[in-house]
Amino acid sequence: MNYNKRIFSSFILIMFILLMISFVSAGFFDLAKGITGRASSQDTNVSIIVTGINPVSIIVVNSTLAGSTVDPSENSMKNIAFNVYVGDRDGVSDINDTSVYVNFTRSGVTSRINSSCNLVGDINTTTANFTCTIGMWYFDAPGVWNISVYANDLGNTTLVQNNSFTFSYGQLQAIVISPISLTWTSVSLGAQNQTPTNQPTLINNTGNYNVTSGNIQVKAINLHGQTITTDYISAGNFTASNNTGGSPPAECSGTALVNATDTGITNSVLGFGNHSENNNVTGQTRLFYCLNTVPTTVSSQTYSTSTAGAWVVKIA
């Protein structure tokens, strides 16, 4: 019986020791690492103290934006809405309701500013809820943006700023081309340096992706006869360029196209920016085409992409 008691006592003792063992440890130098550990999903809060006659706290709550990725919207402004809670231990009446505003900032680029946030209502006697909306354009740079929040109270006019939050603005690759077809007038067999009547192809960058040299590509397809479909004009008889003018036209000494192959157009670039400036440079570029030589070996008929498929203007 005593033996059993001893076993039972030993068991209790072991259990007690195991429970007392700490599951976490920290060294002295961990102090320098700051607070460790990963937070679970939760509202992201930060408090800012505004000094004044009475200590006033401003609490910013941003549970919808911080830490997330926001996709730009093609060719338009995306309104990003989120909430800011402002607290004051002296009561909501001490909060300067017109003082709350936010900026999105990023080094080297234009900030996006909301000059004022709107009061939605009081959460409780010391906290008020504001809603803020900032428009981000399709041409705003991708990457991490800082969220800067400003507020003050009536007891102390010092404007308090908080830069604790960031959000990621995603990358958007998008283009619009027009017109969506090329047309040549009637050309003679053996004719040279024939350009389309409705060029150029205008390419608008409707996203925030920087297309570097050689990454505007054209996949040309042989043009087959609409009557005798076995006859075709090879894609290799065409060139494309971002230049035009002169005699012969500059596009006729452009990049030679290759059948069913994405071919980078030399020196053609497409940066991102406000393409509505419409200057053929900012968020915009043009492509010019040339039928260098009409083969003499093909029959007289209409040739088009209707048999073998459309050409593709691509960004990479």
Binding site: I14, F23, S73, G170, A174, V176, T183, P196, G207, T305
Partner: protein, 186 residues
Amino acid sequence: MINKNKKTGFALILIVVTILLIISNVYAFGVSSSYYKGNPLQISPGETKTISLRLQNMVGSEDMTVKSVLTKGSEIAKVEEKNYVVKAGTEGLEVPVTISIPSSTPLNTNYEVTVSFSTVTSGQGGAVSLGTGIDTTFDVLVVPETPNVNDSGVNNSIIFLVFGIIVLLVIIVLAVFLKNKKNKTK
């Protein structure tokens, strides 16, 4: 004669309408991504992650059919090659890309994955009909496995180890207790 004039007039109207339609139409679609060159997807050896590329069609007034093809990174990436119908005025149509890294892959290995999107265009509508395409490329960086830590910051493997020891001890104590009881009964 009147019929002939009518036919000519009708043909002219048809041509004008066709030209107007061709002129007014634009091809537009976009691909957005959380990962891109300079902002790689980080993944550990032996791990599998599925990310999404998101299609949008916010400019044109017509639905677009867009075909997806994986053109680079097939050793680690899988994309269902199919046609996606992107409704006009919409964004966020997800194209899943599954990335699997073999467990033997050295750390800091960098892969490049490219998914090519292009409009499905008939080729009709002019001498040379034009469609648009977008190559979306992102980097995949192989990084050390992050410890499996729960919300309280405690490594899960330590919890399982301690729990296992406790269970083992309970079994041993019970076995000894029962053995003694049996001996006493004898």
